[in-house]
């Protein structure tokens, strides 16, 4: 039942937010300078080619149905980027894409894609500044082209070694496949190590930009703490170990190292600035529940429940309780779902769908009268419900 590859879209075009980057013991210095000037245009052959391909990808994304076509939200995101890197605001263009994953990618031509899944996980403007600052770090330090060159060089070595050793084996005999594999693995790991170093640098650069723009740099540490907590919760609920299973991942220093290094920098920069909760809430008002719905339907309960709990820190609302119930309903935990739906309908801003879900829950428990009453409330609250015929059928049974 495979359809179109989910990796077909925007894969592999720039630095990514959550590639498992980490700060080493020796964190990059705080006084890194940008490696490009405002209005930068590439001069090298390989970089020009990369830009050209990306310009096309950008044209594709600009009018794609996957883009969240909300000029107000994009202007807001662009405005925060402008605060972080005022000299470069003419060079960076922000696009929001509706993909429920915690990610953002900055392409070297200045195309910044922020995934709806990343916005969903934020609670204030400073959180957004954390993501944008990090991506800006990739851009200003020209990480993508450097990374491409490193990969190109390393894979060339791998090819020469493989073929040279294959010929040598043909001449002297014997089997040296193990040696070839060992060397190639080491080279492949060097590519990942290089990218990790870039991630660490982008972290530091981002935090510095945040502080300069008047955001409390501590928000960056909070952001990564949330990411780690969500990841752990998701893994636990999947029944997996929170450790690092594969060889490749084992080569990554732990996330706690990243946090510790960030905390050190934050301490140096000192706490200051405004988190910007109000403007954030306003910018996301019409999107938050849509993005949450996209996340919940992925049936990744650990992650979804962590996100919902965090959004509920400002108080539980009907829609949040309803989505909490949906998480449990999808994973088959009907009793927990029932409790959440009951809580949702008790709140003044209960969404119509909560009444439907609670109604069917009551019917399943044999409470016919209460159940049909909830279903009637659902139809009254959502007169254009697309499943009206189905619900009326249930009511007439």
């Amino acid at each position: 039942m495979t359809m179109v590859s989910r990796r077909g879209f925007i894969g592999g075009i720039g630095g990514c937010l959550c590639c498992g980057g980490s700060l080493q013991a020796a964190a990059p210095a705080l006084d890194l300078a940008p490696l490009l000037d405002p209005g930068f245009r590439p001069a090298d052959k390989d970089e020009k080619g990369l830009w050209q391909s990306l310009d096309r990808a950008e044209r594709d994304i600009a009018d794609s149905p996957l883009r969240v076509h909300d000029p107000a939200l994009e202007t807001y995101v662009g405005g925060v980027m402008g605060k972080l890197a005022p000299d470069y605001s003419g060079d960076i263009r922000c696009y929001i894409v509706r993909v429920p994953a915690l990610n953002a990618t900055m392409a070297p031509n200045g195309m910044l894609l922020v995934y709806s899944g990343a916005l969903l996980r934020l609670r204030h403007e400073a959180g957004l500044a954390t993501i944008l600052g990090h991506e800006c770090g990739h851009y200003l330090r020209r990480h993508q082209i450097a990374s491409w060159r490193q990969t190109r060089g390393t894979t060339a070595w791998m090819a020469f070694l493989t073929i040279g050793l294959a010929i040598a084996t043909g001449v002297v005999g014997g089997n040296n496949r193990r040696e070839i594999n060992a060397i190639n693995n080491a080279l492949a790991l060097s590519i990942f190590r290089y990218r990790r170093e870039q991630e660490a640098e982008a972290d530091v650069y981002g935090v510095r930009l945040m502080a300069a723009a008047g955001y409390p740099p501590g928000a960056a540490a909070d952001f990564w703490r949330d990411v780690i907590a969500e990841h752990d919760a998701a893994t636990r609920m999947r029944g997996g170990r929170t450790g690092t299973p594969s060889l490749l991942l084992a080569s990554h220093p732990s996330d706690s190292a990243r946090l510790a290094a960030l905390a050190k920098i934050v301490a140096k920069l000192g706490p200051q600035g405004d988190l910007g909760r109000a403007p954030w809430r306003q910018a996301m008002a019409t999107h938050q529940l849509t993005f949450l719905d996209d996340q919940v339907k992925l049936n990744d309960p650990g992650a979804s429940l962590t996100i919902i709990d965090r959004l509920a820190e400002d108080g539980w609302t009907g829609p949040l309780r309803y989505q909490q119930g949906e998480v449990h309903r999808l994973r088959g935990a009907n009793d927990l779902a029932f409790v959440a739906f009951a809580a949702a309908v008790a709140l003044p801003d209960a969404p119509a769908l909560a009444h439907r879900a609670y109604g069917y829950g009551l019917l399943r428990k044999g409470q016919g009268e209460a159940g049909t009453a909830e279903l009637r409330t659902y139809l009254a609250k959502a007169p254009d419900a697309d499943d009206r015929a189905m619900v009326e059928f249930t009511l007439n049974q």
């Binding site: 179109v4 044209r59 794609s64 894979t155 090819a159 010929i167």
Partner: protein, 242 residues
């Protein structure tokens, strides 16, 4: 991804250069027709020593210009008109419409490549070719003043210095009876013609071997001639009045 499928198609198609698949019932109109080319998808670059594709902007730009010139000249010689649609002069609604059609064509074109060229043959389509973009293309007849849209996809990679050295090393192995074949850069291309009135794909062709270096004018002309060798003919001009 398209590139991978085109490559796979080429690897499997036993033919040396081109193989045409088209709607056999298709008859071009008996009046001269006009063709518009939407966003030709062309990239030229080098294959790095490690076998990665690296786009070169200058090569791509000359390839684009050369192929556009070759297409226009070829059609003019045949008595037809061909224009290259320019995004820069189009109104935003038209631009969005064309994006939609280009994306749809990408998906349909990939299905054609997969099911006509890669061995994943659909038994119900053994002798028919009836893929279509649907009637949504009809408004473009008026908007672009064209009868047909031509879609062109081409990727040409040339072995970098490092890759050539690797190839030499592989061949050198033959001297000591340990040959290693190192694939070098290659050209992959396909083109398809869509009847804008109906949306039908009326002609489709895949090019598998390097027949011309599209970075040069001459090479691009040769490539276009090969790719379009079975292209629907323009009607013969009426005989001059006696």
């Amino acid at each position: 991804m398209i590139r991978a499928i085109v490559l796979a198609a080429l690897l499997l198609s036993a033919c040396t250069t081109t193989k045409k698949v088209a709607d056999r019932t298709f008859k071009p109109p008996d009046r001269p027709f006009t063709i518009v080319v939407f966003r030709p998808d062309i990239e030229a670059g080098q294959m790095t020593a490690g076998g990665l594709f690296e786009v070169r902007a200058d090569w791509t730009q000359s390839a684009e210009l050369n192929i556009a010139a070759a297409l226009t000249a070829r059609e003019a010689k045949r008595g037809g008109t061909l224009s290259i649609y320019a995004d820069s002069t189009a109104e935003p609604p038209l631009r969005a419409q064309i994006s939609e059609i280009v994306r749809l064509h990408r998906t349909v074109g990939m299905a054609v490549l997969r099911h006509k060229y890669s061995g994943a043959e659909l038994p119900t389509k053994k002798r028919i070719f009836d893929w279509t973009l649907g009637p949504g293309t009809a408004p473009l007849v008026a908007a672009t003043h064209a009868d047909y849209a031509l879609f062109v996809y081409a990727r040409d990679s040339f072995s970098s210095g490092g890759r050539r050295a690797l190839q030499v090393l592989g061949y050198a192995g033959c001297i000591v009876l340990a040959c290693v074949a190192v694939p070098g850069g290659r050209l992959t291309a396909f083109a398809s013609l869509v009847d804008l009135k109906t949306g039908q794909l009326v002609w489709f062709n895949v090019l598998g071997a390097s027949v011309g270096d599209m970075r040069s004018k001459k090479g691009a002309a040769r490539m276009v001639a090969n790719l379009l060798d079975t292209f629907p003919e323009q009607p013969k001009p009426p005989p001059p009045a006696p």
